[in-house]
């Protein structure tokens, strides 16, 4: 049986290619039918903020790629409640079917996966 991989995405979408490159690992894994989960943590939660205007800083919009996750079979999506709270983002403003987890649930989540990559 294939090993499961949790991708922990910690970069804001405007902080360079990090967020996009983390997402690309998840999409590639989904394309190979691997069991992939994705956790948005720390500044990574900014990727989920609604009404972003990336063109104002000559960046491409990441949200379309994020919304492709379920199409690639990556539908185990999580976000750290604490990271949202710390940044004043309400969980109701998110654009994707993402499950909010408290600190204890985060520990359980990471325990559940065979592999973890943090970017």
């Amino acid at each position: 049986m294939a090993k499961s991989l949790l991708l922990v995405s910690r970069q804001a979408p405007w902080s360079g290619p990090g967020a996009r490159e983390a997402l690309d690992i998840a999409l590639a894994g989904g394309a190979f039918d691997l069991p992939i989960g994705m956790l948005f943590l720390d500044d990574g939660v900014f990727q989920l903020a609604p009404t972003q205007y990336p063109e104002a800083i000559q960046q491409k919009d990441l949200t379309a790629n994020l919304q492709a996750l379920p199409l690639f079979g990556v539908d185990s999506l999580y976000v750290a409640q604490r990271s949202l709270d710390e940044r004043g983002l309400a969980d109701t403003t998110l654009d994707l079917p993402v499950q909010c987890l408290d600190d204890a649930a985060l520990r359980d989540l990471i325990d559940r996966y065979d592999l973890v990559i943090t970017l």
Partner: protein, 130 residues
């Protein structure tokens, strides 16, 4: 034990040096490295164009010697490399760039190689950040 090693940081980041030392120690202890995978800024570790000062560590050169000596499977993510100007002859020609800065012993390939390595190995060990 079979290790897959993923590196995400640039050559000047301490984590790149730690990754190399870890890889050396793993082989020295009788373990196997199924693949090295360089992603994000780590693609610069595979460049042969870096010229660090002579009395400083030349990590890209050390990686090359290490990979060659042990005939390791060493893959550089092609998308991450192209974006950062790390090109082999074929890609330099394809995109009309004046020179290549990546060659043997490195392979340019896709993220599937990272997933495959992680599946094959007993442990995936990642190095990134500072």
């Amino acid at each position: 034990m079979k290790f897959a090693i993923a590196l995400f940081s640039a050559p000047h980041a301490p984590s790149s040096r730690r990754a190399l030392r870890f890889a050396e120690a793993a082989l020295a202890s009788g373990h196997e490295i199924v693949r090295l995978f360089f992603y994000q800024d780590a693609v610069h570790n595979a460049s042969n164009a870096a010229v660090p000062p002579q009395d400083e560590l030349n990590l890209p050169a050390e990686w090359g010697v290490f990979v060659r000596h042990h005939r390791l499977d060493a893959v550089v993510c092609i998308a991450a490399a192209l974006r950062r100007g790390v090109l082999n002859e074929e890609e330099a020609r394809r995109y009309g760039r004046p020179s290549a800065n990546l060659g043997e012993p490195w392979d340019l390939s896709g993220l599937g190689q990272l997933h495959e390595a992680a599946q094959m190995a007993d442990r995936l060990v990642c190095f990134g950040g500072p």
